[in-house]
């Protein structure tokens, strides 16, 4: 069975910057998980990659070979209003919204402290972990 993981953009960027980091291992070395991002993720990833001078073809390859994209049609403002009680920074709301919309079991992020993980787990059965914590979890199965 494939486990759905919604992947925050900090993890995607980390995987593009280091081929030995936990984010890269998560996205490139596991075939039992389906990593997912959203249309909003792509927009912000392109902005960040441009500012950090990261070759865009790396993301294109990841999109082609590994990532599934969930389309979120609601405006950001609506998502902020809907999910603001679950995030410390309302600008992160679209990540949570897409993770829930994609019916992911896990949210992979390095920004765990910005999400109210206990409430998210309770209300949406969505568990937020760092890539290394998730890989450690897999070893315990």
């Amino acid at each position: 069975m494939t486990t759905k993981l919604f992947v925050d953009s900090d993890v995607i960027i980390s995987s593009l910057l280091s081929s030995t980091g936990a984010a890269f291992l998560l996205l490139n070395k596991l075939d039992t998980v389906q990593p997912i991002i959203s249309n909003y993720s792509i927009t912000e990833l392109e902005l960040v990659m441009s500012r950090l001078n990261i070759d865009n073809t790396k993301l294109e390859q990841l999109l082609k070979n590994r990532l599934q994209v969930v389309q979120i049609n609601q405006p950001i403002l609506t998502l902020k209003q809907k999910y603001q009680k679950y995030v410390l920074d309302p600008n992160d709301a679209h990540i949570l919204a897409a993770a829930i919309e994609s019916k992911s079991s896990f949210l992979m992020t390095y920004n765990i402290r910005h999400y109210k993980i206990d409430a998210i787990k309770k209300d949406f059965k969505l568990i937020a972990l760092t890539p290394a914590m998730f890989l450690q979890y897999l070893r315990s199965l």
């Binding site: 953009s9 900090d10 960027i13 980390s14 910057l17 280091s18 030995t20 980091g21 936990a22 984010a23 291992l25 909003y40 927009t43 912000e44 902005l47 960040v48 500012r51 950090l52 950001i76 403002l77 902020k80 920074d89 309302p90 600008n91 992160d92 679209h94 390095y110 920004n111 760092t130 890539p131 290394a132 914590m133 890989l135 450690q136 070893r139």
Partner: protein, 91 residues
């Protein structure tokens, strides 16, 4: 916190038993199976901190190292991401 300085520290099987809340016999058993890597010096064993990384970081040592590699760049990434999200939100 599991840092580079601690990674050079070594522990006795008794200390590891206490850290991991296991019996001393279980530790010797895990050493003989190779699940805990130890160095035999004469008749005694010493266990490097990297073999029991989980006790310090919640992660096996290889995963701890992999996470540290990502964390080196994380401050820059989070800062740029916050700016990008601010731009997207204002549209």
């Amino acid at each position: 916190m599991f840092n580079d300085q601690k990674s050079f520290k070594v522990y006795t099987p008794e200390q590891v038993a206490e850290l991991l809340q296991l019996s001393k016999n279980t530790i010797y058993d895990l050493i003989s199976k190779g699940e805990i890597v130890a160095k035999r010096i004469g008749k005694v064993y010493r266990i490097p901190a990297s073999s029991i990384s989980f006790a310090f970081s919640g992660l096996d040592y290889d995963l701890y190292q992999a996470e540290q590699k990502d964390l080196k760049q994380l401050e820059t990434i989070e800062s740029e991401l916050a700016k990008a999200r601010s731009i997207i939100s204002s549209k």
